[in-house]
Structure formats: structure tokens, C-alpha cells
Symmetry: none
Subunit: 177 residues, 2 copies
DNA sequence: GCAAATTAATGATTTATTCAAG
DNA sequence: CTTGAATAAATCATTAATTTGC
């Protein structure tokens, strides 16, 4: 490839010289989007091969291109939605960033609901379930923090401070443990 | 009048008295998912109460809703995985992994079925992966139709017409081959 | 009008999580 | 507790849009 990517080299994907990356034709994109909208989000290997065979009628294409396309499309769909929710969040000044929640490592899982079978039914009246162990920092943070929520915005908090300056007004005074 | 701003309200469950069922707000869902991914799979009764108190700031909610949410979420997680495994076996126990590709450096082709390992890397090179039969209805459907087709937005099309009459009219022949 | 320069999209890789089998 | 299989998120890299000055 000559230094300055010339027009010739960009011509479609038949890349005589081996274009660096797949460049889908409008037909291919249309078909892929149709499939995606139709509900196909993560095609199997078999499906990928079939799609590839079909789309190759409209231009050079490989299985991996199809694979990547779906991966990226799905991921960016999610990303879009997440951004909207984030915006919504910030607009309403809510809680710590989604990232900090999402990435929290935190193992936890000590709950035992074995005796909670009929919990739902009795929910409003009595709670015979007593197992606890609320040292989950995430939980703590989420349950406690309310207004501030500055925390980290990007790096997953390995160890967050458990309590914010103010212990959250009257959340649920009956803290076992 | 913020058109977009109404989303939250619409989803929220401020519902006119006696709403049939809980309808979580985006904030609630995000917080729940954050907790879930943070490691909380089966909250204890106490945790549920705390979560409920916390989430009630963003919309009407009851303890049982939280309880059910976690139950369902966990169950559907497993279900999803199980389905994949099932599909895998039904399809012939061979290829469902087009993503485990780059994890397998793929040393050599033993000469038989080992060729499916590194799909992405070898994608263009060797496709000796069994030519599985295309009986996949979804695929078929998807590959055929291309015109706007909205299908259902939720349920993946089980069985639709298999072949279109025309193989995609050249829409934009701007792509040289 | 036209390219160089800049920005937005999107294809391709890498890295982290997740579930569950051993 | 460790590890395999699959995925999703984050990131890198290149192409396409667009802006800009001439």
C-alpha cells in the first residue's frame, strides 16, 4: 500500500492488493440490518456461514466480517441505550455513575433465602427470614449514598468507602449486623 | 413540554390506583442490574427491604417485586445459557463457538475436524468446518427478506416464508467489484 | 470545485466477566 | 478453587464524512 491511501485502493472490498478492512456494500448493510432488526442478534457459526454465502453475492465478504458486524452492532445498540439512561440519570441527579455500579468486583453472595419460600406472601406482614450479612460494599454504597455520589467515575472501585459523610437519613434502621 | 422526559413517567408505576403489576423505572432496573452484576444474586430478606426502600425513591415498588426480580433474573440467566448449550448439541456438537476463536492459537489442522477452532484467524483460509445443512429457519428468513421488514420487535420469527422471489434488486451499484 | 485537515463511524482486537463443570 | 467456553465491554485502527482555506 502506497503511503497515501489512494482512491484505487479504497475501491470496495475486492481489494486487489488486500484492502485493510472489509467495506460493506449498501446491499450487504441493508440485509444485515434487516436480520438484526428481525431479531437475529448473535448468529451461530452456521448462520454466519450462511449469511456470508448469501451476502457474497453483493461483494466480497468473509465470515469474520459478519461475525464482527453483529458483535459491533449489538454492542453499539446497547451503548446507545446506556447513554440515554445515563443522561437521564444525570438529569435527575441520581446515584453514582453506572460504571461504578457495573464494574464493581465485589464477590459477596452470602444470602440464603432458603427459609424465604413464602416470603412473598407474607411480605407485608412479617419477615421470618433473618439471614444477613450486609458487608457488601456495593450494596452499602448504593443503599446508603443518596445525594453525593461522586465516587469514581471510571475505575472500578475495589474498595469504596462504605459510608458517605452522612449516613443516609432513615433508610432502614433495622440493620442486622 | 419535554417529549422525551415523559419516558420515565410513562414507565413509572405511579400508576393509577390498582396497576396490575409492577413496572420498573429505568433507574430501578439499572440499580438492580448493578447489584446483580456486582454479585448480589439472592438477596436476603433484609437486603430486599433495604433495596426496596432505596428504590422506592424512583417509583412505586414493593419487596416482593425485588424478590421476584432477582429470582427471575437469575433464572433467565441460567436459561439463556442452557439454551445455548442445547442449540449447540442439536446443531451437531461442532461449531457453536465462533468466538472461542482467538482463544485457540490453533496449532495445526490434524486433518479432520480441528479446523473449526480458530475461525476468525483462519476464516478466510479454511472452511472445512462441516457444511452444516441450512435448516435454520431464522437464518433463512432473515437472509431472504430485505425490504424494511419489521417483523415482530420482540419475538424472533420462528417460521416465515423461506425464499423471496427476487434476490435483491441492485439498489446501489456504486460498488465496483 | 478541490484537497488537506479534522471529525464521526465503524470494522477488528484485546481484555474482563460470567457461569458452571471438573 | 481452578479452568474452559462464550460473551460483552473497552479499545485500537482505518475508512467515510465533513469542514475549511484556497
Amino acid at each position: 500500500m502506497s503511503a497515501t491511501g489512494t482512491v484505487v485502493e479504497r475501491l470496495s472490498n475486492s481489494g486487489s492488493g488486500g484492502g485493510s478492512r472489509w467495506c460493506p456494500t449498501p446491499e450487504q448493510v441493508m440485509l444485515l440490518e434487516g436480520m438484526y432488526r428481525g431479531g437475529l442478534k448473535t448468529p451461530t457459526a452456521t448462520q454466519i456461514q450462511q449469511i456470508t454465502a448469501r451476502l457474497s453475492l453483493y461483494g466480497k465478504i468473509q465470515g469474520k466480517n459478519v461475525f464482527y458486524w453483529f458483535q459491533n452492532h449489538k454492542a453499539r445498540d446497547r451503548q446507545k441505550i446506556r447513554k440515554k439512561l445515563m443522561a437521564m440519570y444525570q438529569h435527575q441527579r441520581l446515584l453514582p455513575s453506572y460504571n461504578s455500579l457495573y464494574y464493581h468486583p465485589l464477590p459477596l453472595q452470602g444470602g440464603d433465602m432458603s427459609s424465604c419460600k413464602n416470603m412473598v406472601n407474607e411480605w407485608n406482614v412479617d419477615q421470618t427470614c433473618k439471614k444477613v450479612m450486609c458487608d457488601c460494599s456495593l450494596m452499602t454504597v448504593m443503599l446508603m449514598d443518596q445525594g453525593t455520589s461522586q465516587y469514581c467515575t471510571r475505575v472500578p472501585p475495589k474498595t469504596l468507602q462504605l459510608f458517605p459523610t452522612a449516613p443516609a437519613p432513615t433508610l432502614n434502621p433495622s440493620q442486622p449486623q
